[in-house]
């Protein structure tokens, strides 16, 4: 071991009383011959820290191990610049959750110290990934969101490229007659303020606008995206068609079973081979290099013709709320069918019992739009009657006042009411409704029917980004059909690093929410370009300077890493070996676990490191009746949960050793083999909840771990061991009270088996 290590055992917190510190120190000094080993209470105190600093200086230590409280505390205190600092959790994981002065507790502490020292000795020196990066930002979409994002980023001093497919900026806001701004006094509708924004964008010298253009392709990675911008044209239909065929094929494969999906495939228009000479581009285009991308491609109106009951498409006087905006801009409202002036309109929601989630795209703005549009009729026709039917009047926040004001107009008639059918009446259309406030069933005759239309994210139909990524041109979708990956806690994250979605492409939003959303996306893009310029990871491991290194010579082109990386970090070389793009990496190390050849490693986290820790612990012989269990835990939720168990002094078996991983997806089959052949009796994996509402910070780490374990059986058969010796659990951070029950239940299971026969080999 090439590190000069100092071990500092904290005897505070009752550690000194509960453990035999002599014996513990002996492990460091005896077994590992560390340069320095000292035991004192409360190393976090300034004068104690001074001691450590002295040792670092005098003994020229390269690594420091603090064996005391959880690494979740005193991080700032215990950081010594370049010197590697490792923490061994003797407090929460040992003395607070196990009996004092007990043989097994002592063994537990010693094992943790061993593992800590081994881990430290396995650190390798490696410079952070630094390359020439670009700090400019690409914004796709010239609507409210796109323009706001562009302005916010530019105001912060960053160069912005804004691409809009239409010949002019403004997006939908251009075709809106009036808008509700959500600004105080909240009670009026105004002309769309979009024109000022357009002017501001055009006037800003840090924003370069490409109207009438689309993104043809994006290759590269954060800090070094190469974007080909191409004038809009028929090419896009062709591309979209190809992409969707490819996606359909991929989905079909996955449906046919994960196995096939795993096996490499080639028929991918988007799968690019970076090292090939760049393909000939024989069309008009511009290429820009950017550091980060904001996708604000917006929305398209939902197709409501599948709402069979509403007669859309059947009757010309049944229109969508979007079409109605255009009708209203013409002034006095007249019937599409015969041009006769309109005296009564029914505004209905696109509800159809046949359709699942009928309002998923409309519910956030539908009511507000209906209120606004009712006003269009009234302001142009004093005798006009506007009927608004809603299932629930949705006017959140201060919009309640907007609702209140619109109510005051005697010509606006509102009622709860679910549309049953629209038909031809004597003098126009007849709308049939149920569950109204005027009776279970009612009919009403009107000149026109306006259906509140949903806002479908543009990404539903096409990739837009047209990524030249091994995993395809698309942003992966979440279960709600949008492309953000961590809705609620990391609202801007997607499964493509450095690409942030904002506005209605992420969810149906009103004008002001789009602006709100755009500002945030601008910041995330700025963060990204700043962090990658320093060779640091972005959220959620912001600042992490480690990155995966591949010993490519040993690669067998199995492609698991390229398939399993949730963030599409790996492209592919012509020879089938993976081509890493380190700035795309979130440092979750899922690839490290996926690699059967164990060739992927980080400077402070590697297959060898964890494997050695497992092998380094002491396994008593089979007659000692001291079974050993290794528990791999996710450091994000499960590990803190184990801390909580300690903080609440919950007691559980002293035979288990917790090993934290960046994500349970790190789990590498070889560790299981290592552990079992070392004589470990049982292995547990505790990770985050997965499924539609996954809690995994890296989207599918815990799910992958589960998947890999389901494939472990042959290993066990080879070793002639019971498959019950391995358990996988999902645990959320607030379920720490379940830890004793989980652990002890597992010990109970194991007690049913003989000790692992490989002990002492």
């Amino acid at each position: 071991m090439d590190h000069k290590i100092g071990v500092y055992i904290d005897t505070g917190y009752g550690i000194g009383e509960a453990l035999d510190i002599e014996a513990l120190s002996a492990v460091a000094t005896g077994e590992f011959k560390v340069a320095v080993c000292k035991a004192e209470p409360y190393w976090n105190e300034p004068e104690k820290l001074a001691i450590i600093r002295n040792d670092i200086a005098n003994e020229s230590l390269t690594a420091v191990i603090i064996a005391g409280p959880s690494p979740r505390v005193f991080q700032q205190e215990f950081s010594f610049g370049e010197v590697i600092t490792e923490r061994v959790n003797l407090r929460e994981h040992v003395v607070w959750s196990h009996p004092a002065n007990d043989e097994d507790t002592q063994m537990l502490a010693e094992d943790y110290l061993r593992m800590g020292i081994i881990k430290t000795s396995k650190y390798v020196d490696r410079e952070p990934f630094m390359e020439e990066t670009d700090k400019s930002i690409l914004v796709i979409g010239g609507g409210v969101t796109g323009m706001t994002a562009a302005l916010e980023a530019a105001k912060a001093g960053y160069q912005v490229y804004l691409v809009e497919k239409e010949p002019r900026l403004g997006g939908w806001a251009n075709s809106f007659h009036k808008v509700f701004t959500g600004q105080p006094p909240y009670d009026e509708i105004k002309d769309s303020p979009i024109q000022e924004k357009i002017k501001a964008v055009n006037d800003h010298d840090k924003i370069k606008v490409f109207t009438g253009n689309r993104v043809f392709s994006i290759s590269g990675a954060p800090g070094m995206f190469d974007v080909i911008i191409r004038p809009d044209g028929p090419w896009i239909e062709k591309l979209v068609k190809e992409q969707n065929e490819w996606l359909a094929a991929k989905k079909a494969k996955e449906a046919a079973g994960g196995e096939e999906a795993e096996t490499p495939k080639t028929a991918e228009p988007a799968a690019a081979a970076e090292e090939e000479p760049p393909e000939e581009i024989d069309f008009a285009h511009e290429t820009v290099r950017v550091g980060a991308i904001i996708l604000a491609a917006g929305w398209r109106p939902e197709d409501v013709s599948n709402r069979k009951n509403l007669g859309y498409g059947q009757y010309p006087d049944v229109v969508t709320s979007v079409e109605f905006e255009e009708i209203a801009t013409k002034g006095k409202i007249s019937r599409p069918s015969d041009g006769k002036p309109v005296n009564s309109i029914a505004f209905v929601e696109a509800i159809d019992d046949e359709v699942k989630h009928p309002l998923q795209y409309a519910s956030s703005v539908g009511s507000l739009v209906a209120l606004k549009q009712a006003h269009y009729l009234r302001s142009t026709n004093p005798e006009g009657k506007a009927f608004i039917f809603y299932e629930n009047m949705r006017t959140p926040g201060q919009y309640e006042k907007f609702y209140q004001t619109m109510q005051d107009d005697p010509g606006v008639f509102m009622s709860r009411g679910v549309p049953v059918a629209v038909g031809n009446g004597t003098a126009g259309l007849t709308v049939e409704l149920k569950d109204t406030l005027l009776g279970e069933q009612m009919k009403i005759g009107v000149d026109m029917v306006v259906i509140s239309t949903g806002m479908v994210p543009a990404t539903k139909d096409s990739a837009i980004l047209n990524l030249k990524y091994r995993q395809g041109p698309f942003l992966p979708e979440n279960p709600y059909g949008f492309t953000d990956s961590h809705f609620i806690c990391f609202p801007y994250e997607t499964q493509r690093t450095g690409i942030y979605v904002a506005g209605c492409v992420r969810m149906p939003l009103d004008f002001q929410s789009c602006e709100l959303d755009a500002a945030g996306a601008a910041l995330k893009a700025i963060q990204c370009v700043e962090l990658v310029a320093q060779g640091k990871a972005v959220h959620p491991r912001a600042g992490d300077q480690s990155y995966p290194e591949l010993m490519i010579t040993r690669c067998t082109q199995c492609k698991r890493c390229t398939e399993e990386c949730p963030f599409g970090m790996y492209d592919e070389k012509p020879d089938g070996t993976p081509l890493p793009n380190p700035t795309r990496c979130r440092r979750c190390a899922i690839c490290m676990g996926s690699c059967p050849e164990r060739i992927i490693s980080f400077r402070d986290h590697s297959v060898d490191m964890i494997g050695s820790m497992v092998k380094g612990m002491h396994v008593p012989d089979e007659y000692s009746e001291k079974p050993r269990v290794v528990v791999f835990v996710c450091e994000n939720d499960a590990y803190p949960a184990v801390d909580m168990a300690g903080i609440n002094r919950l007691q559980y078996s002293s035979f288990v050793r917790f090993i934290p991983l960046r994500c349970l997806g790190n789990i590498n089959m070889v560790w299981i083999a290592d552990a079992l052949s070392k004589g470990i009796d049982g292995i547990m994996l505790i990770g985050c909840k997965y499924g539609d509402d996954y809690q995994c910070h890296f989207v599918k780490g815990s799910e992958l771990a589960q998947y890999r374990m389901s494939k472990i059986s042959e290993t066990l058969q080879r070793l002639v061991l019971e498959s019950e010796r391995i358990e996988v659990h999902q645990l959320s951070i607030d379920e720490y009270h379940r830890i004793p029950e989980i652990v002890d239940a597992f010990m109970e299971t194991l007690s049913g088996f003989d000790p692992n026969p490989y002990k002492g080999f």
């Binding site: 989630h357 519910s363 609620i488």
Partner: protein, 421 residues
């Protein structure tokens, strides 16, 4: 990047934490000021987030980890901003920091269980008591004890207290009941105001029986009741007799959308009640939850959640506001009165417990920002956005996800102030 780009963030709830961290990770320095002894604000006291029903502590933990790692964020707890002067690009703020009255090495409540004095547990909305020296909750950041000096002074002379002080010493914990607050001055080029909200005072809803009926609680109390680290360790039981609830009513718009109370819609109460109905059903499969509403407002993708909850036969919905809540003196059951609007019949029904979906009132409607040139709307939400950037529920009622988006947006505005325009 330059170190003089400092952002002062006031309010250590989810909005404030987010704003501070996002700004810091974009190259600013951030000063985060929180009046409670811990960060996390209201979300720290929530059991789960809708619609994913995931624990807020999961998100808080990752943010705390970012804080621990990041030397560019300075956190002051038990601190309030007394005044702010200056202009965008150059603000000076005075911050008053109250003492914790105790010094320790990240000790926990378990370390001080022999504390002789108890106080009502504000963290659990007063539903139980805690020791006068305690860690606010087990995941608290910063992880250090806080003491209630007044409560301790009452017992100062006693032998128990002396013994307690001794046992503390042994654990490296020192009490100092005479510690004095200090006032510091900080300079910042931008200010983000995120002091958030408080639940509307339910005692003002005189017809809804809070305080007069034992089994009428509020939605924020329900969060604590359902939480594993709550007063009942997650047992959803009646305050009156600790009986498992079988039949819970959720009373929507308790104060919101009401000119006599909060004229605006608090946006999240409907979804909160949907979520809490699920708590009840998961805790007790025989239980029934009944939601009384005017309009069920599940906006955006929350529509999915609403539909999922509606599939449960034992979660009932009735359109009609609850007007009166009284108590059956014998059984302590609550009697709710309203009209089922769709059937057009008055309702008088008894339930084990009623949960008032009280709304969110911006703290700025009561404590204004101590700076010139800030303007508010008629409800007390901040509307101005020059140099002092309001974010989260200080701006309008929002769900947690939107707060985080908005706070991230506030960070970019702050960043702009630091570069100058």
């Amino acid at each position: 990047m330059a170190g003089d780009k400092t952002v002062l963030v006031v309010g250590g709830g989810i909005s404030g934490i987010t704003a501070a961290l996002e700004a810091a990770e974009a190259g600013c320095k951030a000063i985060l000021v929180e009046k409670e002894p811990y960060l996390g604000g209201r979300v720290a006291r929530m059991n789960k987030y809708f619609p994913k029903l995931c624990p807020p502590n999961c998100g808080l933990e990752i943010n705390f980890r970012r804080l621990r790692k990041n030397p560019d964020v300075t956190v002051y707890t038990l601190a309030t901003v007394e005044s702010i002067t200056g202009a965008p690009g150059a603000y000076t703020a005075t911050i008053k920091i109250s003492p914790r009255y105790v010094r320790d090495h990240t000790a926990t409540s378990k370390c001080v269980e022999d504390c002789p004095a108890e106080i009502p547990n504000d963290f659990n909305y007063g539903m139980d008591k805690v020791h006068a020296v305690r860690l606010p909750y087990e995941m608290a950041y910063p992880m250090s004890l806080v003491a209630d000096a007044q409560a301790l002074k009452k017992v100062e002379g006693t032998a128990e207290y002396k013994a307690f002080v001794e046992s503390c010493k042994a654990k490296g914990i020192e009490l100092d009941l005479d510690a004095q607050p200090e006032t510091i001055e900080v300079k910042a080029s931008s200010v983000v105001w995120a002091t958030g909200w408080r639940p509307y005072d339910p005692t003002k809803l005189d017809k809804l029986g809070f305080g007069t009926c034992a089994n009428v609680i509020t939605n924020v109390m329900m969060e604590r009741l359902a939480a594993a680290n709550g007063p009942t360790k997650g047992e959803i039981v009646r305050p009156s007799d600790g009986k498992k609830v079988n039949n819970v009513a959720f009373v929507q718009c308790a104060g919101s959308r009401d000119r006599n109370h909060l004229p605006y819609c608090s946006s999240i109460c409907c979804l909160a009640s949907l979520k809490q109905a699920v708590y009840v059903r998961e805790y007790n499969p025989d239980a029934r939850a009944h939601i009384f509403y005017i309009d069920l407002r599940a906006y955006g993708r929350f529509e999915f959640f609403y539909e999922k909850v509606r599939e449960d036969e034992n979660i009932l919905f009735t359109k009609g506001k609850i007007v009166n809540i009284t108590e059956d003196p014998k059984t302590k059951d609550v009697i709710l009165e309203g009209e089922d609007i769709l059937s057009g019949e008055k309702i008088r029904r008894t339930f084990d417990m009623a949960v008032l979906a009280t709304g969110m009132q911006p703290n700025t409607s009561i404590e204004k920002i101590p700076a010139a040139g800030v303007s508010y709307d008629e409800f007390g939400f901040v509307i101005s956005d020059q140099g002092i950037h309001a974010t989260g529920v200080t701006k309008r009622p929002m769900d947690v996800g939107t707060c985080m988006q908005d706070a991230t947006g506030a960070a970019v505005k702050a960043l702009q102030d630091t570069v100058g325009r």
